[in-house]
C-alpha cells in the first residue's frame, strides 16, 4: 500500500515552494512600480477635476481664444487643447524641450483620447473632466498627436501636431502665448 498522505504532502510542499517564488516575483514587480512612483513622481493622469462639457466654450479656461500654449504668471508652461469631433483645437501646439509642461485637455462632446508618438504622454479625454498630463519633452521636432479612442466616423482623421522646440526658440509673446504659426 502506498502512503497517499506522503505523496500528497510532498506535492504540496513542491507547490508551496513555487508559490513562494511567485509571490516574490509579484512583490519585485510591485516594488519596481513603487520605486518609480517615489523617485520619478510617476502617476497615471488622475486629476479628478470637473468641467462642464456643455458650457465649455462659453467661459473660462477652455474658450477658443485661450487655447494653445501659454506661460502662466508663475512661469509654468501650460498647453490647453480641446478634443472635439473630429479635430483638436489648436491643430498644432508648441512646447519647449527639457522643461516641465502641463498639458490640459477637455472634450465638449464624446470620449476622446490622446497620445504623443514616441513619448509617454497618454490620457483619455472624458467629457466632464479636465485631463492633465505633466511631462518633459526631451527630443525636438514635430510629433504626432492622434485621437486614440473611437469618437465617431471622422475619428481616423483626428490628428494634431506637437512641435517641440529648443528652449531658446521658445519665446512667449506679450500675452504669454506661443503658437505654431
Amino acid at each position: 500500500m502506498i502512503d497517499h498522505g506522503a505523496t500528497e504532502r510532498r506535492i504540496l510542499k513542491t507547490e508551496l515552494r513555487w508559490a513562494v517564488f511567485v509571490g516574490f516575483l509579484v512583490l519585485m514587480i510591485l516594488g519596481a512600480i513603487v520605486y518609480a512612483g517615489i523617485s520619478m513622481h510617476i502617476n497615471p493622469p488622475s486629476n479628478r477635476e470637473f468641467i462642464d462639457p456643455k458650457t465649455l466654450h462659453l467661459s473660462g479656461e477652455f474658450t477658443e481664444a485661450n487655447l494653445g500654449t501659454s506661460v502662466d504668471t508663475d512661469g509654468q508652461v501650460t498647453t490647453r487643447v480641446i478634443a472635439t469631433q473630429f479635430s483638436f483645437v489648436p491643430q498644432c501646439v508648441v512646447v519647449p524641450a527639457n522643461r516641465t509642461v502641463t498639458l490640459r485637455f477637455a472634450s465638449p462632446d464624446v470620449i476622446h483620447g490622446i497620445l504623443v508618438s514616441g513619448t509617454n504622454v497618454n490620457t483619455m479625454v472624458v467629457p466632464g473632466y479636465v485631463s492633465q498630463v505633466h511631462t518633459e519633452f526631451t527630443r525636438t521636432g514635430d510629433l504626432l498627436m492622434p485621437c486614440h479612442e473611437y469618437c465617431g466616423f471622422g475619428h481616423s482623421q483626428m490628428l494634431a501636431t506637437v512641435r517641440v522646440v529648443p528652449p531658446e526658440q521658445f519665446r512667449p509673446g506679450p500675452d504669454g502665448k506661443v503658437t505654431c504659426g
Binding site: 500528497e8 513603487v34 474658450t63 502662466d72 509654468q76 469631433q85 473630429f86 479635430s87 466616423f153 482623421q157
Partner: protein, 277 residues
C-alpha cells in the same frame, strides 16, 4: 487531507476562513497604505504640498496630482457662440409650440426660405431636412450677434427665445417629409465624393458625412447638407475660410474650410446640391 471527523472538518474550515480572510485583507491594507499614504507622502515635495492635501489628491477628494502643482488659470476670453446644449435649452426645444412656430414662419420666413422650407432663392438656405437643434443654433447666434446677416440679425433680435425655439421645432418637424434626396442619389466626380464620404487623412480632413448626416453622432447642432442650395453652401465655406463667419464652436468648420481649395469648395457644394454641372 482525509478528514472525515466532523469536528476536525469544521476546525479545518475555520482555519481556511481565517487565513483566506487575513490574506485578502492584508493585501487590501498594504495596497491602500502604499497608494494612498506612502506614495503621496514621497511625491508631495515636488509640488510643495502638505501631507493632508497630497492624500486628498491621491484619493480623489481634491483635484490635481499629489506630485505636481495645479496650473493657474487666468482666462477671460469671450465665446463665439452662446448656445450650449444644457438641459435648459433642450427643455425649451422639447416644450416649444410648433403651432406658434408655424405662424411666425408664415409671416416671416416663407418669403426667403420657401413654403415647405425649400428655398428657391439660391443664396438662402433651405430649412427642409434640418433638425430643430440645427435651426435653433443659427437663430440664437443671429440673435446674440455671433453670426451676422443684414436680414436675419434684425428678425432674430425681434423674437424671444421661446419663439426661436418654436420656429426651430416647426421646421424640424415637418421638414423630414420635404427632402427627397438621400446620400446614395448624390452624383459627383470621384475625388469630391471621396472627400465628402471618406475625408482626407493626409490633411486631417474628416469626411463631411462623418457629421453632416442625420444619426452620424456628430455635434448636436450639425446641419444636414443633402439638397442644400449650392450658392449658399459655397458662400458659407468661403466665409469660414476667410474668418468672416466664426460662430462654429471650436473652429470645427473654420479649421476644415481653411484646408479646402476653391475647387473643392465648389465641388462639395455641387455634390451636396445633387447636381453635376
Amino acid at each position: 487531507m482525509n478528514v472525515g471527523d466532523p469536528i476536525e472538518q469544521s476546525a479545518l474550515d475555520r482555519r481556511w476562513r481565517l487565513w483566506a480572510s487575513a490574506a485578502v485583507g492584508g493585501i487590501l491594507v498594504v495596497g491602500a497604505v502604499i497608494g494612498m499614504l506612502v506614495l503621496p507622502n514621497f511625491q508631495r515635495e515636488n509640488a510643495a504640498l502638505d501631507l493632508w492635501t497630497a492624500i486628498c489628491r491621491a484619493v480623489g477628494i481634491t483635484e490635481g496630482s499629489p506630485a505636481y502643482r495645479q496650473p493657474i488659470t487666468t482666462a477671460q476670453a469671450l465665446p463665439v457662440s452662446q448656445v450650449a446644449w444644457d438641459p435648459d435649452v433642450l427643455d425649451i426645444l422639447a416644450n416649444a409650440n410648433p403651432q406658434q412656430g408655424a405662424q411666425i414662419a408664415a409671416q416671416v420666413c416663407v418669403a426667403c426660405h420657401g413654403e415647405n422650407g425649400v428655398s428657391s432663392v439660391l443664396e438662402y438656405p433651405s430649412l427642409a431636412g434640418q433638425s430643430s437643434a440645427a435651426i435653433y443654433k443659427q437663430l440664437s447666434d443671429y440673435r446674440s450677434g455671433a453670426r451676422v446677416h443684414e436680414l436675419m440679425t434684425p428678425y432674430a433680435a425681434q423674437l424671444t427665445v421661446p419663439q426661436l425655439a418654436s420656429v426651430s421645432v416647426y421646421y424640424g418637424r415637418f421638414a423630414q417629409q420635404a427632402t427627397g434626396l438621400g446620400g446614395r442619389d448624390l452624383p459627383g466626380d470621384d475625388y469630391i465624393v471621396k472627400l465628402a464620404r471618406e475625408g482626407d487623412s493626409a490633411r486631417a480632413l474628416p469626411a463631411c458625412d462623418s457629421c453632416h448626416v442625420p444619426g452620424a453622432g456628430g455635434p448636436i447642432e450639425t446641419p444636414v447638407l443633402t439638397g442644400q442650395n449650392l450658392q449658399y453652401l459655397a458662400a458659407q465655406l468661403r466665409a469660414y475660410k476667410t474668418g468672416d463667419r466664426q460662430n462654429d464652436v471650436y473652429r470645427r468648420m473654420r479649421d476644415i474650410s481653411e484646408k479646402l481649395t476653391e475647387q473643392e469648395i465648389d465641388g462639395l457644394a455641387r455634390y451636396y446640391r445633387g447636381v453635376l454641372f
